[in-house]
Amino acid sequence: MILQLKNVRKSYGEKENKVEVLKGIDLEVEKGEFCVLLGPSGSGKSTLLNIIGGIDTADSGEILIREKEMTSLNEKELTRYRRDHLGYIFQMYNLIPDLTVRENIEVGAYLSKDPLDVDELIAVLGLKEHSRKTPHQLSGGQQQRTSIGRAIVKNPDILLCDEPTGALDYATSKEILKLIETVNQKYGNTVIMVTHNNAIKDMADLVVQLRDGQIQKQYRNAKKIPAAELEW
């Protein structure tokens, strides 16, 4: 078990303005699993991802990564935890504008004691001919590939993806999903992806459907469909 959540609760605001975003989430993800958090806007999926990622905190409950409790970690320890175990991919690529593709990926490599080979990864990402380009010379898909490279080069235990295809067209979205699938299979990282795209659930090992801060449905796919075959 790589990730275990027990009765995780989170609310924002105070007194009459208080809104409970997560209302007792229990979740278990196995190592190497591809997990999709599905749900409409405001269902709490991004908050849940941020809490798993250690950039937001739960009000109560337990979060265990490799059976280590992380709710008690201080800011410094949380940074260490993110550095050692997590990779992040966002809808906005958030690349450093004055660094090249290769250098942006190296930014991720710098954070790891045992990073993947950057050149090999660039080839896997299909960015070989763009490695010396800066982000503004790339298409949206190429930028997202770069951000995936930056996240995966650390060889993290868990790859957290927050709507990674939200700003991309159909074809590019599929490319990115295929790439994440490849990474998951090739490097064995656990992937937790937040999406509101219902079709993506079919490529996951574990599907968690959220609604109004609660898990509405949770199941494991008996047979996954490859990303290339997804349609929406």
Partner: protein
């Protein structure tokens, strides 16, 4: 693996080159000038300090009205001193210049030859280098004095005249109208009655510190007083001609250090603000990096690197400049004021530290504090571009009646209040410099004008009291001399009005100089000092300097004695020319035990021609009273132009950097309103006018604050660092001039920024990635 983020620095430097260049220039100039100043100052202070031994500078000197005989000298020397003749002759040169001529010194107060050679022939003279420079005299020129012509054979610095004070009581030295020179021993054959009998002395057993020096000096004075009638006694520690230079150089050093700290503080603050702006622009990237595991410390170091590197390079370049160009410039400033001997550049570890380590420390500290507060928010808030620290407040409510454009501008003003605050703080400093730079020459002019308007009389004739009249043990001689004195000093000039005079010493408060106060005993119904009505009035200069008013009591002591006088102040007489006290003549004579009819001089608006020159000690005219303003103008006039230029440079750099930050920060909004159809002119009126308003308000407010700050600083410094008084005056025409300079500097920046606004692309608002 090294942090790949470091690769950004060089690219950032290229991208933001104008920003870094102006910050570099500001720091380079400030550090360079300070470094040059400290090196020159340190080297010259070293040369000055060494000159005491090298040139065997006296421990003091005294002047007797007559030449001392051998037995007197012997008895005086028994007090543990060596006495040396330092007789001089004062020659009047054309245009009111006075040259004090000594014979070449062999034993004490030696001469430093700066150019040419020392005199050998009878007609030759070596004159003070600065006196020569100020008057355009060169080697080979002939100086025509009343009785003799002299050919200049060399330029020298006399070790006991590093500051050319003709009188130790003068407020300021006067290197234009007063100079010193040496002739050969053979040439020093002037008639005895035209000589001044000055004697230098050195202690056989030199004092170890200033306290001991004072005790020894006081003891020696008692011996002298018992032996001879002293006309003047100046121990070295009170001799302005010797000490003023050292003290001034020491205090200049502190002033430059403080100035550098202020400039680096402002620059660091602006640097931190511009970097904060970069952080705001890179908010999402920072959020991602933090989410990926970059620590706050790593990012803090990353964003602090450029301010650190720019300061480091400025400090290195500044120090190179300091040891080369700026050092000579600063040494030139000293040589323009003081008659210093030659100096050798001395490496100063302290100066190097002060101009590298301190700017770096300030830069690191300020950027650390500001950027840490900026970076301490959570990664999530960076990702959400929610960078406001502390509790979030809603927008400031504005009345709906305010027109849209005004409302928009007000919002921009509030959104950039941190940036505008830094403009205000920077202007506060720049305006203070500008007001000082522009105000000092005006203040000196005003002083000159005031002196012309408020002279006590066009001429003040001070008579030479016969020595025998002053000595109790020469009664018969005194009586005969007295009759002759009274006969000779009567005048038929109907403008002339007698006054008696006396002089006492102020007991200095801590930090103040020791100085004398003159008493004028004036006639009842005087034509020159009106409104006395039997009262004791102090001059406005004395009142302002020591903050005295009617009802106060002034405590003064006899010069060279311990007798103390308490003088009640009954009012203030409007006269800035000297620290003096006016009282009825009879009262003055009674107070100081002078014979009832004693008088010591005449006030007159026309020249008195029927008193023999031998009976006149001095004639005080406008030139004598304004030598302080004249000398300050010579010493600082040229430097003030640098101060003005530097102040305007700060205006330019500050407004440029801040306006640039505001416009870059607002690029998306600017692009958006352009998309909506606003013209460049309209957009500029929204974004530039807010800055214009902030600039104008800051200019006006800081001028007002600086006016009072400058008065306070000026009064504080002048009261402590100078004898005498020059009242603080700010001429009204300075305000529009300052405003115009500030606005012109901003107009240049506004033009650049208008161009920048025009360059903001419409796509800026539409792109959602880098």
């Amino acid at each position: 693996m090294r942090d790949p983020l470091r690769k950004r620095h060089l690219r950032d430097l290229k991208k933001q080159f104008p920003r870094y260049l102006v910050i570099f220039l500001l720091l380079f100039l400030s550090i360079g000038f300070t470094s040059g100043f400290l090196v020159a100052d340190g080297s010259m202070i070293k040369a000055y300090n060494e000159s005491f031994t090298k040139y065997r500078i006296e421990d003091g000197h005294f002047r007797s009205a007559y030449k001392l005989n051998r037995s007197q000298l012997k008895r005086i020397e028994e007090a543990g001193v060596q006495v040396y003749e330092l007789f001089y002759k004062e020659e009047e040169l054309p245009e009111g210049r006075t040259l004090r001529i000594y014979k070449d010194r062999k034993d004490v107060d030696l001469v430093c030859l700066m150019e040419g050679r020392l005199p050998e022939r009878r007609e030759e003279i070596a004159v003070d280098r600065m006196f020569a420079e100020n008057n355009g005299f060169q080697i080979g020129d002939v100086l025509s004095a009343a009785e003799r012509d002299y050919t200049i054979c060399g330029l020298v610095a006399l070790s006991d005249y590093s500051a050319l004070f003709s009188d130790n009581n003068d407020t300021m030295f006067d290197a234009l109208y007063f100079g010193v020179g040496v002739v050969s021993e053979e040439a020093f054959d002037y008639p005895e009655d035209t000589l001044c009998y000055e004697y230098a002395f050195t202690y056989s057993d030199p004092p170890q510190d200033e306290t001991e020096e004072k005790t020894m000096s006081d003891d020696f004075l008692k011996v002298l007083n018992a032996e001879i009638r002293i006309e003047e006694y100046i121990p070295r520690y009170l001799n302005q001609a010797i000490r003023f230079t050292g003290e001034d150089m020491g205090s200049d050093k502190q002033m430059m250090e403080v100035l550098l700290i202020i400039i680096v503080l402002i620059t660091a603050f602006v640097f931190a603000l511009t970097t904060s702006d970069t952080i705001a622009q890179e908010s999402a990237v920072i959020g991602t990096l933090r989410a990926s595991g970059y620590s706050q410390g790593e990012l803090l170091r990353h964003y602090m690197t450029m301010p650190f590197l720019v300061t480091l390079f400025s400090a290195i370049a500044g120090n190179i400049g300091g040891y080369t160009v700026f050092k000579d410039l600063c040494a030139g400033l000293y040589y323009a004021s003081y008659s210093l001997p030659t100096y050798e550049t001395v490496f100063s570890g302290e100066a190097m530290l002060e101009t590298t380590l301190i700017p770096l420390l300030i830069m690191v500290l300020v950027t650390f504090l500001i950027l840490r507060s900026k970076l301490k928010i959570s990664p999530l808030r960076f990702l959400h571009n929610d960078l406001r620290s502390g509790r979030r407040h809603g927008v400031i409510p504005l009345s709906e009646k305010i027109p849209f454009f005004s409302c928009y501008r007000t919002r921009i003003l509030f959104a950039n209040r941190g940036n505008y605050l830094s403009i205000f703080v920077g202007f506060l400093f720049a305006n203070l410099l500008l007001m000082f730079g522009m105000g000092l020459p005006m203040l000196l002019d005003a002083y000159q004008e005031n002196m012309e308007m408020n002279l006590l009389s066009t001429y003040q004739y001070v008579l030479k009291m016969p020595v025998s009249l002053q000595q109790d043990d020469h009664k018969l001689e005194g009586l005969l001399e007295g009759v002759g004195f009274l006969r000779d000093t009567e005048t038929s000039n109907i403008d002339a009005e007698k006054f008696s005079a006396y002089e006492l010493e102020l007991i200095p408060e801590l930090g103040f100089r020791q100085e004398n106060v003159s008493f004028y005993g004036v006639e009842e119904d005087s034509r020159y000092i009106q409104g006395l009505e039997g009262r004791t009035l102090i001059s406005s200069a004395l009142a302002e300097k020591y903050e005295l008013s009617a009802g106060d009591t002034l405590t003064l002591k006899e010069r060279y004695e311990d007798t103390v006088h308490e003088i009640p102040v009954e009012g203030v007489y409007d006269y800035s020319g000297a620290l003096c006290i006016f009282m009825p003549r009879e009262e003055l004579n009674r107070t100081f035990d002078l014979p009832e009819d004693t008088f010591l001089g005449y006030f007159s608006n026309t020249p008195i021609t029927d008193i023999p020159q031998s009976r006149i000690a001095s004639v005080i005219e406008l030139d004598d009273l304004t030598k302080v303003s004249r000398q300050l103008d010579i010493s600082f006039g040229a430097m003030m132009v640098y101060v003005d230029v530097f102040a305007v440079l700060i205006f330019l750099i500050l407004t440029y950097l801040i306006s640039k930050v505001i416009i870059e920060k607002s690029a998306v909004s600017i692009s958006m309103v352009k998309i909506l159809g606003y013209t460049d002119r309209e957009v500029s009126s929204l974004y530039l006018r807010s800055t214009t308003t902030a600039v104008i308000v800051s200019l006006l407010l800081t001028t007002l604050i600086d006016r009072y700050a400058l008065e306070y600083v000026y009064n504080y410094l002048i009261a402590r660092r100078m004898s005498g008084w020059i009242p603080f005056v700010i001429k009204p025409q300075i305000y529009p001039l300052m405003f115009l300079l500030g606005v012109t500097a901003y107009a240049v920046v506004a033009l650049i920024e208008y161009h920048r606004i025009r360059k903001v692309r419409l796509s800026e608002a539409l792109k959602n990635v880098e």
